[in-house]
Structures are given as structure tokens and as C-alpha cells.
């Protein structure tokens, strides 16, 4: 409904995930949430829980081991959702680009809506990105968004839509 849709941008709750970052960007995100920059004035809550989040805030170049979690968390966020890649590593791989254990940015795996440059990114930029993301969020539909890689299946089991295997299970040796 149009009425409810207009409230999407007034209450963005974020899920912050570190996909192998050096913690530089994470610190900046925390700074943005803290008293000085006070992200909460936009209604932002750092929920730490994908099921109640609207904005997926990812830092880090996606190390090989973290890619499953990235996709799992992404598929547990209910639509509509936006993804923000915070920092150079997250957008392109940054200084780690081309390394054997790094996946060169999260857009290899999941669709990204806003890219934030910087190593480390700054709180001002992060706030800007979130405000930008809210515009995108408002125009999104509630259709299921699928990850690019490691997508398992969304199937209907007895009239119920099961997202249990949306993120593919990878066999480890």
C-alpha cells in the first residue's frame, strides 16, 4: 500500500556484516551510529538481526570463507531490502583485489544498490549512502531478490514458500 510504503524511508533498520574487513570501515560505521553523527535521528537502529533489517551494510572484500554467510544473511533479510557496500574493498576488492582468498567485492555474490568508496570510508559518506539507499528502498518491490552466486532454491512445499535452501550449502572437505 502506498501509505505504508512512505514509511520505509523513515525507519531504516540496518544489519552490519563484516565480510573480512580490516575493521577500519566498521569503526566508521559505529562512529556514524554514535552520538556525534547520530544516525538514529533518521530512525536507524542497528538490529544485528537479518530478519528485522532493511539495509544490509557490508564491509570487507568477501574472503573465501565468509561468502556463504554473506549469502545466507542476505537471503534472510525480508524484501524490500537494499545493500550498501561500504569501503573500497567491498566495492572492488580494494588493495586485496586479485588475491587467492578474496572474492573482489560483494557484487560478485549479491546485488548492490549503493557503493561507498574510501579506505576507510567516512561517517559522512556512510550517512550519505544510507540517505541515498532510502530513496532506492522506497521504489523497490516486494519480489524475492536472489543472490548471483550460491543461489540454492526457493521452492513451494505444500502451498508454503520455503526459503530454507535459498543460500546454497557448500560442501567443505
Amino acid at each position: 500500500m502506498k501509505f505504508f510504503t512512505s514509511f520505509r524511508k523513515k525507519s531504516p533498520w540496518i544489519l552490519h556484516y563484516n565480510a573480512g574487513s580490516c575493521n577500519g570501515c566498521d569503526i566508521e560505521i559505529l562512529a556514524a551510529l554514535g552520538p556525534k553523527f547520530d544516525l538514529e535521528r533518521f530512525g536507524v537502529i542497528n538490529t544485528g538481526n537479518p530478519k528485522q533489517s532493511d539495509i544490509f551494510l557490508v564491509t570487507g572484500p568477501v574472503t573465501y570463507r565468509s561468502r556463504e554467510r554473506l549469502v545466507e544473511l542476505y537471503s534472510q533479510i525480508p524484501e524490500p531490502k537494499v545493500v550498501i557496500a561500504v569501503g573500497s574493498c567491498t566495492t572492488t576488492g580494494g588493495v586485496f583485489r586479485g588475491m587467492y582468498n578474496v572474492e573482489d567485492g560483494i557484487d560478485q555474490y549479491i546485488p548492490v544498490d549503493v557503493y561507498v568508496p574510501g579506505c576507510a570510508s567516512t561517517p559522512q559518506l556512510i550517512i550519505d549512502a544510507i540517505v541515498k539507499a532510502l530513496e532506492i528502498l522506497e521504489n523497490k518491490s516486494k519480489e524475492i531478490e536472489k543472490p548471483f552466486k550460491l543461489f540454492g532454491s526457493v521452492e513451494t512445499i505444500g502451498n508454503k514458500l520455503s526459503r530454507l535452501n535459498m543460500a546454497k550449502r557448500v560442501k567443505h572437505d
Binding site: Y17, N49, P50, K51, E68, R69, L70, E72, L73, Q76, P78, I144, I157, G158, N159, K160, L161, S162, R163, L164, M166, A167, R169
Partner: protein
């Protein structure tokens, strides 16, 4: 009618020895039906009946009593248990002495060569009947025959899966029937000697049925149950001795008409027997040990009927307790047992032991209420007794199903049980909820008990201890039951298929009967309160009935995995236990032993 209640189970017990499986079912259903019918009829007739026993019967009972005590002596010797031997010998001596004193019509107590007082033992004038049915006994008939009958019906099916010879199985069911008859007689015994005999009979039943599986553990636990209950027997005999010496009577009603003198000592000794039978701490060991017995035994003896002798006895003595110090001490003991047993139960992981401890706790609560001795609190004790019998029977029978169908005993093995056995878990949950939450009877009983005790606080400030322990104990029981349910309930997504659960009819019929009774009596109890607000307490329950309807509308929502921090492999939390340190535990046991002794001391002094 009374005779039917007593004789019918005996007849059934006799017939069971010669009957096949189907006739066993038939017999147990017949006894359940007629027992419930007659006990309801008796309950509604509301007339007090009494019977005199002929001297022949009295002699038979005396003879049987001696044989029984000699049997205990023999068992003690056979299994080399010093405690059993000593206690049996003490009982035998006391018993013979009392018979000697009371049969001699008069006895003189001579101290230092001077006749202190002479006792007239009146046999003719004003002699009251040995068997008297009053309101309390009629209420007990209801519990014994309905709940007990259902449990016997269950035990027929239970025995099918037991590894024992057919003869032994028949004996088991026969013993259950006999036990019904014993209990029926016990609750209308007015003669203390008859009461003692039946008390010892229940001890015997308990001993034999705990030892039914005849292995090392059962044997040890059975012997422990035996000697602990024998302490109860000894204190009863001492109480009777005091009554005979003091007032020259062995009848409950004549004893309670007296006042002053050694009345309190006698009453104190008798109520100590109640504490033993009710497995109050420090005697909780025997009830917990008794949990090795087959489940119907635990349900019948160790929760629904036999241990109810404890609050029954206190209720019987309550007219003498009233606002006295002795009543105060007893109710405080009961209240403290309620809290402590609930607390100790938090460290247990065997499902039946948890139920056992919570039985000890609730018996403590009932005794506390009974010992307060106002009309209202006594009524509430009775109400609690009834509802507790129903709920605990349901829980034990469900535990039996888990044991037989799924081979589960410890709650550690029960994780995600609701996925495998939704129906059984449903019964267990109903049992838990009916013990703790509105609008079920047991909860209502506790609610009124709080109100009732609070209204007495100004006159009897000591009752504050009872009130506080009642409140904390209830909270701890909530913690206990729902902590256990955490193991049962955790269910994966409902898009994963599970096997359908089938409970055999022999198991499900008693369970359904008990559930219906719990809901029905709970509703009935609310209706008779004539309190519209109270009925509204049941409103939240509507959700339970509406839930399945809404459930169909739930198909449009997406199903997803629980959150595991993005991991794909699920991980579970461990169950939580709270255990006191050994030092604290010892302290608890010592203080309760002192409290137990204090009952006697207070009785002697007042």
C-alpha cells in the same frame, strides 16, 4: 455403596489372576466405570455413614498386622537391612504393647511407685465406629476411584510391553486393584489401629511394586522406601500410644474432641507420619528412588493417590491444629518444603524424577494449607489435592508413553521431541500448563490460597513465611516446568515432513480421559465460584482454540531457517540446571531434619 468400593477391586484383583488380556481390559474398564459411578453417587449423597466392625474383624486385622510386621522383619533379614529390621521390631513391640494396653480396658501408669493416672479404655459407651465416611473421605473416594481407575486401565496396556512372565504381569495388575481397595478403606478409617494397618499396607504395596523389576537398583530403592515409611509407622504407633495413655481412645473423632493434655503430642506424632508419607524433605529420597518402578506405579502410588495420605492426614487432624503453634510449625514446614523441593527439582534431568520432586513440593503446599486449619484453607487443600492428582497422573502416564514408545527417560534425550511425538508432547504441555497457569484448577487453588493466607496475615504474622514460600515456590515451579518444555518443544520449520505419531489406544484412552477431566473440572471449579471476573481469566485460552483456524491463513508467509549468525549448520543450546552446592544441600537436609524434630518438640511442649 461403600462396600462396593472396597470389595469390587478385591474381586477384580482375584479375577485378573485367571484372565487373558482382553478380559483384563474389560475388568479394568468395569472397575473404573462402577468405581467412578459409586464414588460420584457417594459424593453427591452428602450423608455421613459409619460402620462398626465386629470383634472378629478386629481380631483378623490385628493378626494381619502382626503378620505384616513379621514379613517386614523377614524382608529386612533377607536383604540384610539393619534399619528395616530395627524399625520393624520397634513397630512390633509398640503394636503389641498398645494392643495389650487397649485390650486390658484399663492400665495404670506407675511412676516411682505412685499411680500417676489410671486409664479407662471405654469399649461400650460412647464408643465410635471404626469406619466413618465424612466429607473428606467422600472427596478422597473421587480421587482414588476415578484417577486410580484410569491408571489401572493404563497399566494393563503398559504391562503388555514389559518383560516379565504373564503370571507376574497378572499379579502386578491384581496388586494395583488391591491397592485401590486399601486406599478406599484407608480414607474412611476412623480407628487409628485400622489406619495404622492400612498405612502399613500402602507401605507394603509401595515396597513390592518398586521392587517389581527385581534388579539391583529397584531393590535398594524399595528397601529405602520401606525403612523410611516404617518411620512413619513408628510415629503413628507412638501417636496412638500417647492417645491411648492420655485419653483412652484409638478413634480419630473421639481423640479430636479432647483438648489440652497430651493431645498435641499425639497429633504432632501423627502429622509427622504425614510428613514421612508425603516424602517431605528430608524423606524425599524414597519418593525419588521410587521412580525406578514401572510408570503406572509412580502415577498411582507416588503421585496421584498414596502420597495424598499426607495432606489427607493433616486435614483429618486440622480441627485440633487450627491457630495453634503446632499448626503454625507444620504449615511453615510445608511451605518451606514447597520452595526447597521446587528448587532441588531444577537440578534433575530424569523426567520422572522432576515430576517426583514437584509432587513433593506440591504435597508440601497442600500440607501447609491444611495445617493452617481455617475452613477456606482446608477446602483449598482438598481442591489442590484433586487437581494435582489429575494433572500429575496425566504427566506420569505421558512419561510412560515416552518410555515405552520412544525409550526416553532423560530430558536430555528429548530435544525436538515435538517433531517426532507431537501428541505426547501436547499432553505433557497440557499437564504443565494445568499445573501453573490460569484458568486451570491448580492455579486457581494457588490464587485463592494466596488471597486466603493474606487475609490471615494480621492475626497470624507467622503465616508470612508460608505466603512468601508459596509465591516463590510457584515461580520456581513455573521455571521448572517450562525449562523442561524447552527441551521438548524446539521444532524445525514446518515445511520439513515428520512421521505421524501413533499412540496405542490403551495409552491414549486414559490420557484423553484425564485431559477431559482436567479441562472439565477446571471449568467447573470456575463456575462454582460465581465470580464473573474469574471466568474472564479463561479468555486468553481462546487463542488455543482459534490457533488451528488461523493456521490455514499462515501459508502465504515465507518459511525460513532460524538465524544461526549466517552459518548453515544449526547449533543448539544446552538445557539449564541450577544445583545447590553440596554444603548448601547438606544444610538444607539438616535444617529440615531439625524442623521435623521440632514438630514433635512443639507437640510435646504445647
Amino acid at each position: 455403596m461403600l462396600l462396593t468400593l472396597i470389595l469390587l477391586p478385591i474381586a477384580a484383583a482375584f479375577l485378573i489372576l485367571f484372565s487373558s488380556k482382553y478380559i483384563q481390559y474389560f475388568l479394568s474398564v468395569a472397575v473404573l466405570a462402577s468405581g467412578s459411578y459409586y464414588s460420584i453417587l457417594l459424593f453427591t449423597s452428602a450423608e455421613n455413614v459409619s460402620f462398626y466392625l465386629s470383634s472378629f474383624f478386629n481380631t483378623v486385622i490385628i493378626a494381619a498386622d502382626i503378620v505384616l510386621l513379621l514379613y517386614f522383619l523377614y524382608q529386612g533379614k533377607k536383604y540384610n537391612s539393619l534399619k528395616v529390621i530395627v524399625l520393624a521390631a520397634v513397630q512390633l513391640l509398640l503394636f503389641l504393647y498398645i494392643e495389650h494396653v487397649s485390650a486390658g480396658h484399663s492400665a495404670q501408669v506407675v511412676v516411682d511407685g505412685i499411680t500417676k493416672f489410671t486409664i479407662e479404655y471405654d469399649t461400650s459407651s460412647g464408643h465410635s465406629a471404626e469406619i466413618a465416611v465424612d466429607e473428606l473421605s467422600r472427596f478422597m473416594f473421587l480421587i482414588i476411584n476415578i484417577v486410580g481407575g484410569i491408571i489401572v486401565l493404563y497399566s494393563v496396556r503398559y504391562m503388555e510391553d514389559e518383560t516379565a512372565t504373564p503370571r507376574k504381569k497378572q499379579l502386578f495388575i491384581a496388586a494395583m486393584f488391591l491397592f485401590l481397595s486399601v486406599m478406599n478403606t484407608l480414607v474412611c478409617a476412623n480407628s487409628l489401629m485400622l489406619f495404622f494397618f492400612l498405612f502399613e499396607m500402602t507401605t507394603l504395596a509401595s515396597y513390592l511394586l518398586i521392587a517389581f523389576r527385581n534388579d539391583e537398583v529397584s531393590r535398594t530403592n524399595a528397601l529405602r522406601a520401606l525403612w523410611m515409611n516404617q518411620i512413619g509407622g513408628v510415629v503413628i504407633l507412638l501417636g496412638v500410644l500417647v492417645a491411648v495413655l492420655g485419653f483412652g481412645t484409638v478413634m480419630f473423632d473421639t481423640l479430636l474432641q479432647h483438648s489440652g493434655g497430651v493431645l498435641f503430642l499425639s497429633v504432632a506424632l501423627l502429622s509427622m507420619a504425614a510428613l514421612v508419607k508425603g516424602a517431605s524433605i528430608p524423606f524425599d529420597g524414597w519418593l525419588l528412588g521410587a521412580m525406578v518402578a514401572p510408570t503406572p506405579v509412580s502415577a498411582m502410588l507416588h503421585s496421584a493417590t498414596m502420597v495424598k495420605i499426607a495432606p489427607y492426614l493433616i486435614l483429618k487432624l486440622a480441627p485440633a491444629l487450627g491457630a495453634t503453634l503446632l499448626g503454625g510449625v507444620l504449615s511453615i514446614t510445608g511451605g518451606l518444603v514447597f520452595v526447597t523441593a521446587s528448587y532441588l527439582a531444577l537440578s534433575r534431568f530424569v523426567f520422572k524424577e522432576i515430576l517426583g520432586y514437584s509432587t513433593v513440593a506440591l504435597l508440601g503446599l497442600m500440607m501447609a494449607l491444611a495445617a493452617i486449619g481455617t475452613k477456606e484453607s482446608m477446602m483449598l487443600a482438598m481442591v489442590l489435592m484433586g487437581f494435582h492428582a489429575l494433572s500429575k497422573a496425566l504427566l506420569f502416564l505421558a512419561a510412560g508413553v515416552l518410555e515405552k514408545q520412544y525409550h526416553l527417560k532423560s530430558i536430555e534425550e528429548m530435544s525436538a521431541l515435538v517433531h517426532r511425538a507431537p501428541k505426547t508432547v501436547g499432553y505433557i504441555l497440557l499437564g504443565f500448563v494445568s499445573l501453573t497457569l490460569p484458568p486451570f484448577g491448580l492455579f486457581m487453588g494457588k490464587l485463592f490460597a494466596i488471597t486466603s493466607v493474606a487475609s490471615l496475615l494480621r492475626e497470624r504474622p507467622l503465616l508470612l513465611i508460608v505466603l512468601v514460600s508459596m509465591i516463590i515456590g510457584s515461580a520456581l515451579l513455573v521455571l521448572l516446568y517450562f525449562k523442561v518444555s524447552s527441551a521438548l518443544l524446539s521444532n524445525p520449520s514446518d515445511t520439513l515432513s515428520a512421521e505421524e505419531e501413533r499412540i496405542p489406544y490403551g495409552f491414549s484412552l486414559p490420557l484423553i480421559l484425564l485431559s477431559v477431566l482436567i479441562v472439565g473440572t477446571g471449568a467447573g471449579f470456575i463456575v462454582i465460584q460465581h465470580d464473573a471476573l474469574l471466568a474472564l481469566l479463561a479468555l486468553p485460552l481462546i487463542f488455543v482454540f482459534v490457533l488451528p483456524w488461523i493456521m490455514r491463513g499462515m501459508e502465504r508467509y515465507d518459511r525460513t531457517e532460524p538465524y544461526h549468525c549466517g552459518e548453515k549448520e544449526p547449533f543448539d543450546t544446552a538445557l539449564i540446571y541450577y544445583e545447590p552446592t553440596i554444603r548448601v544441600k547438606q544444610m538444607i537436609y539438616w535444617s529440615f531434619t531439625l524442623l521435623f524434630a521440632a514438630v514433635a518438640v512443639v507437640g510435646a511442649l504445647s
